[in-house]
């Protein structure tokens, strides 16, 4: 835990945090977005650009671009598919599933035996519930014998949804 903490503290500094606070809801949609952020924070534009590129390199920023609203774009159904796959092959299988264009997130998570044997989670998106189920079947086919059981959990209600706070 200590190692994680130290890493976190050295990975970004106070100026990075200012940049994060100024851009976490988006970049200005203008011809010179970085100039505007720099002016707003009293920084040099090159400094802002270099720091954002570094944060990209370190994975603090996942990517910069447009964030589609799946729901509005017609992908109204999503199901959390969970899979029981052999632990020793999980990295290879996770990459295979994560590469499918209908999967937005794919993670390994801990099992809780005996009631929860599923160790691989893949969020599957589709235009309808049936389309999601079809895609889940596609994953099952890809996994073949390595699929020791799976489920799809559809969300029935959003109980809370807030943005990221830092």
């Amino acid at each position: 835990m200590l190692a994680v903490k130290q890493q976190a503290e050295t990975i970004i500094d106070a100026i990075d945090r200012k940049i994060i606070a100024a851009t976490q809801h988006g970049l200005p949609l203008t011809r010179n977005p970085y100039h505007e952020i720099a002016a707003q924070l009293g920084l040099d534009v090159q400094d802002v650009i270099t720091r954002m590129q570094l944060m990209l390199d370190k994975g603090v920023i996942r990517r910069i671009g447009v964030v589609p609203n799946h729901y509005k774009l017609g992908f109204k159904a999503n199901g959390m598919s969970v899979w029981n796959v052999p632990e020793e092959k999980i990295s290879q299988l996770g990459q295979l599933i994560g590469a499918q264009d209908f999967v937005s997130h794919c993670y390994q998570r801990p099992r809780f035996l005996p009631e929860w044997p599923y160790n691989l989670f893949a969020m599957v998106h589709g235009k309808t519930r049936d389309e999601v189920l079809e895609k889940v079947e596609k994953i099952a086919t890809l996994l073949g014998d390595d699929n020791r059981g799976h489920l799809v959990l559809f969300s029935t209600r959003i109980l809370k949804k807030t943005g990221l706070r830092i």
Binding site: Y34, R63, M80, I90, W116
Partner: protein, 149 residues
Amino acid sequence: MILTTHDRTIINHLQGGFPTCEDPWDELATILNLPIDEIICRIDRLQEHGMLSRFGPIYNAERMGGGLTLAAIEVPETRYDEVTDIVNSFDEVAHNYARDHKLNMWFVLATERPEQITSVIDEIEQQTGLQVYNMPKQEEYFLQLKFEV
């Protein structure tokens, strides 16, 4: 709103890779083969119609030093509203979804520091009297997001 070919091009090609340089749009105008003002104008319109939820960097909370996990609870139907209120009352609960399984409540916890995850989970267990299944990600198989429209 009906998406045009150009709108689709923008959505499909700009989910990442926005350049980090002084004139980021120049490069994009060449790649997308569209004038800068038109790209900007289209993104603006797509945002206005809610097709895009935003434009800019997507930050990774964990890499910023925070804690993040997915947790689930098996909530008795008769207590569902009460437990929802308790869980949602925690600022650390970012998203909470009802799902059709015995584990019928799934929420994302985000804390300022990684070690706070455990104490928030303990607190939720205490207040609800229910077991919280903590399922932090152990590995991420993440590829460029690629929603084709």
